[in-house]
């Protein structure tokens, strides 16, 4: 099998094990390319990709831009915060204008959940979700899985704990769908006010005691805590958060021996993670960043390959 079931990547919910494996396997070969002196491939020559970032995210945008350039795509980056949106133009009009300039793929980041799906209704381009509201961030989920798989050579049977503001984290959702499909066991941990409603229906364990959550885990993936949640009354102070949930060297004793520390960034050092942990040998935080380019190359390549075929639009 060399094609994905859908010509868009809107989320990892509902993506099959075969499709995720295909993406991860493809990323493996691109990951090797990144270690070569000449890192460029002609694969997407002639394809135009628009990076549509309604919400600022320097690292995700740069990662996508690099992935596109490594594959020789023509790329344009567009941050509507300083343009038409301020003039009151609707999202549909904005993207239809962009599409009229003859583009092939759109990478979209937006503060509203569901926008990538909405774009599939507005335009013909392949849509890649680069993070929508508190819904999904599929390429982050994939790169997290890719990073874990490179270290353990498998995902099945591993226990992954996601710690922090799991309620508002799109990374959590993508990780959760992806890891479960791939046969890993997932646990969530954070203050009860930052736990998603009816989270048990995802079929995951959930904890408010970090030490319990970490017991026997292989991977800890730490989600960012935002000050605005404290202002919204969801927890009393960053200080108390750190005391209750901060990942310190001490707490890691409960993990399995060959454990891994992850963080999708940007980190609040000293709040959700100590520098000692972030910079330790077990931390793969910078590998995640490198791997992100390879995974995004794989996604771009696989979706663009679909584009040249007619019919079979099955999302």
């Amino acid at each position: 099998m060399s094609h994905l079931a859908s010509r868009h990547l809107l989320g990892l919910e509902g993506v099959s094990k075969e499709d995720m494996t295909l993406i991860l396997d493809t990323a493996d070969s691109f990951r090797e390319v990144l270690d070569r002196t000449i890192k460029k491939l002609p694969t997407l020559r002639g394809i135009t990709v628009v990076n549509l970032f309604y919400e600022p995210s320097t690292r995700t945008r740069i990662s996508f831009e690099l992935a596109e350039k490594r594959l020789s795509a023509d790329t344009v980056s567009f941050s509507p915060s300083t343009s038409s949106v301020q003039k009151g133009e609707s999202l549909r009009d904005t993207v239809q204008n962009i599409e009229a300039m003859k583009i092939d793929m759109v990478v979209v980041r937006h503060k509203s959940s569901g926008v990538p799906y909405y774009l599939t209704q507005c335009m013909d381009a392949n849509i890649i979700n680069a993070g929508d509201g508190t819904h999904e961030h599929p390429t982050q989920g994939l790169l997290d899985m890719f990073t874990i798989r490179r270290k353990y050579k498998k995902l099945e049977g591993l226990r992954v704990v996601l710690v922090g503001d799991v309620k508002h984290s799109r990374v959590t959702r993508s990780n959760l769908w992806g890891l479960k499909t791939m046969g890993a066991s997932v646990a969530l941990c954070g203050p009860s006010t930052l736990m998603p409603y009816e989270v048990e229906r995802f079929g995951v364990d959930h904890y408010t005691d970090i030490d319990e959550a970490l017991e026997g885990a292989d991977v800890v993936n730490i989600m960012r805590i935002q000050l605005e949640r404290q202002q919204a009354g969801l927890f009393p102070s960053q200080r108390e958060y750190t005391n209750l949930f901060g990942i310190t060297r001490e707490r890691l004793k409960r993990l399995n021996k060959n454990y891994t520390i992850m963080h999708p960034g940007p980190m609040n050092r000293g709040v959700e993670i100590t520098s000692e942990v972030a910079d330790s040998d077990q931390s793969v935080i910078l590998d995640q960043v490198t791997n992100g380019v390879a995974v995004r190359m794989a996604v771009l390549y696989l979706l663009s390959g679909r584009k040249k075929e007619e019919g079979a639009d099955n999302d």
Partner: protein, 437 residues
């Protein structure tokens, strides 16, 4: 024409009038805009009917003949948003949906919180294809701060008050509104949703909101609001009407309050007894964004139970037109509301009557005599002498909801494409046909 004995005869239909306790085949005679007689079939009657002109007679065989339906919760958007709906277009939609009377909500621009706006709406409604009753605001500018001039509003013809779209958050203001309204014997209607608990939610808080990453509005926001208002209603002895009830525990709270004799009534909307929040699915369809939100299966089933056991007195559409442009956007940016006047009857038939929850008599009662009683309106009956507001229903007619068929200026319905059974055949207002299929 005046020398004619009758202006219109509806012959051979099955007359269903819960107010009269009437459910049998009969002919209905109309004269001067009123019902002048209901006669059961007989040989003599058949002979007499044969002598009438064709245009005087509506053949209603195989049809149901019911009092004109009454919707006590609609938004007509005029004044202010005539691009979404006008009183005229809203009334055409009402007629197409079998409604001969609608009660319009005050959250227009400007608000209906003074006599001039009441008068404006009434003037605009003159000659429209449905009767329009005005519901005034509880508080000035619907800000929840100071009581509107409720006495003035009632004097001008307002039949009830509500700050619909907003919950009267301050309990003391709500208490005063209930106390004050007693003088005028009108119900105080409440959009029951504690704003602090809603906390910016854009859909029901549930596993579905968790999945979709949309901000959830919890059912407890409604329950808390309903329980508070029941307590205030109990202590003031006023009349409270809870609008668009949508949660299991809110239905239970009203059931309990009624048992205790508290003077509370409530209504349910088709979308709350037909849909669940799973419908939002992966498509983030903004036409499914409503306020209060579409809830879980348990809530929906509780609303149906409430309709069955009489806890929920009536069915209202909460017809809320929004332009295509406004709904064509991100889910959390879309305005709340869906249109409902033209789909309510078919949904009631298909989802309540056909499934055995309500018989036609009960369904019609919740669409006619009950709303009339709660808001103190004339109508809702086919009694001799009553205005000839009549709806004729083709009870088993299969049809598909089509956007291009809507008379409403807006098309924001999630039911487009749905197949229903039971359609309005003719709507008669004051003896005149205002809609025919």
């Amino acid at each position: 024409m005046t020398n004619k004995k009758f202006d219109l005869v509806i012959k051979g239909g099955r007359v269903v009038d819960p107010a009269l306790g009437f459910g049998q085949d009969a002919h209905l005679f109309i004269k001067d805009g009123r019902i002048s007689a209901i006669e059961s079939d007989s040989a003599e009657m058949s002979r007499m009917l044969k002598t009438l002109d064709g245009d005087q007679v509506i053949d209603a065989s195989e049809k149901l003949v019911v009092p004109g339906l009454i919707d006590i919760h609609v938004h007509l958007r005029e004044p202010g948003r005539e691009d979404e709906e006008t009183i005229e277009s809203g009334c055409r939609a009402a007629a197409a949906g079998g409604f001969t009377a609608v009660c319009c909500m005050p959250n227009t621009t400007p608000r209906i919180d003074n006599q001039e706006t009441v008068k404006f709406v009434q003037d605009r409604a003159e000659g429209a294809s449905a009767r329009v009753y005005v519901v005034g605001a509880i508080t000035k500018n619907i800000e929840g701060k100071e009581l509107a001039e409720i006495g003035d509003l009632v004097k001008m013809g307002a039949v009830a008050i509500t700050d619909d779209g907003h919950y009267v958050q301050n309990p003391d203001i709500m208490r005063r509104a209930l106390e004050y309204s007693k003088m005028f014997k009108i119900p105080v209607c409440q959009h029951a949703e504690d704003q602090y608990l809603v906390s910016g939610g854009v859909m029901n808080e549930s596993f579905q909101s968790t999945r979709l990453g949309l901000k959830g509005s919890p059912a407890v926001a409604e329950e808390v609001a309903v329980l508070r208002d029941i307590a205030l209603c109990r202590v003031t002895g006023a009349r409270l009407h809870i609008q668009h009830i949508s949660t299991r525990r809110a239905v239970e709270a009203i059931r309990q309050a009624k048992r205790e004799g508290v003077n509370v009534t409530t209504e349910a909307c088709p979308h709350h007894f037909v849909l669940t929040d799973e419908e939002i699915g992966k498509e983030f369809n903004t036409n499914l964004r409503v306020n209060p939100p579409i809830r879980t299966k348990e809530d929906r089933d509780a609303v149906i139970e409430g309709l069955v056991d009489g806890t929920i007195d009536c069915i209202a559409s909460d017809h809320a037109p929004h332009s295509e442009e406004e709904k064509d956007c991100e889910f959390d940016q879309a305005p709340s509301g869906m249109i409902g006047l033209e789909t309510t009857l078919g949904l009631v038939k298909t989802y309540l009557v056909d499934r055995g929850y309500l018989d036609w008599g009960d369904a019609i009662r919740k669409l006619t005599s009950n709303p009339a009683r709660i808001f103190g309106l004339k109508g809702g009956t086919l009694a001799v002498g009553a205005a000839a507001d009549i709806t004729i229903i083709d009870p088993d007619k299969k049809w598909t909801i089509r956007a291009e068929k809507f008379r409403s200026r807006s098309k924001n319905s999630p039911f487009i494409g749905w197949k229903l059974s039971g359609q309005v055949y003719k709507t008669i207002l004051g003896g005149k046909v205002v809609f025919e299929l």
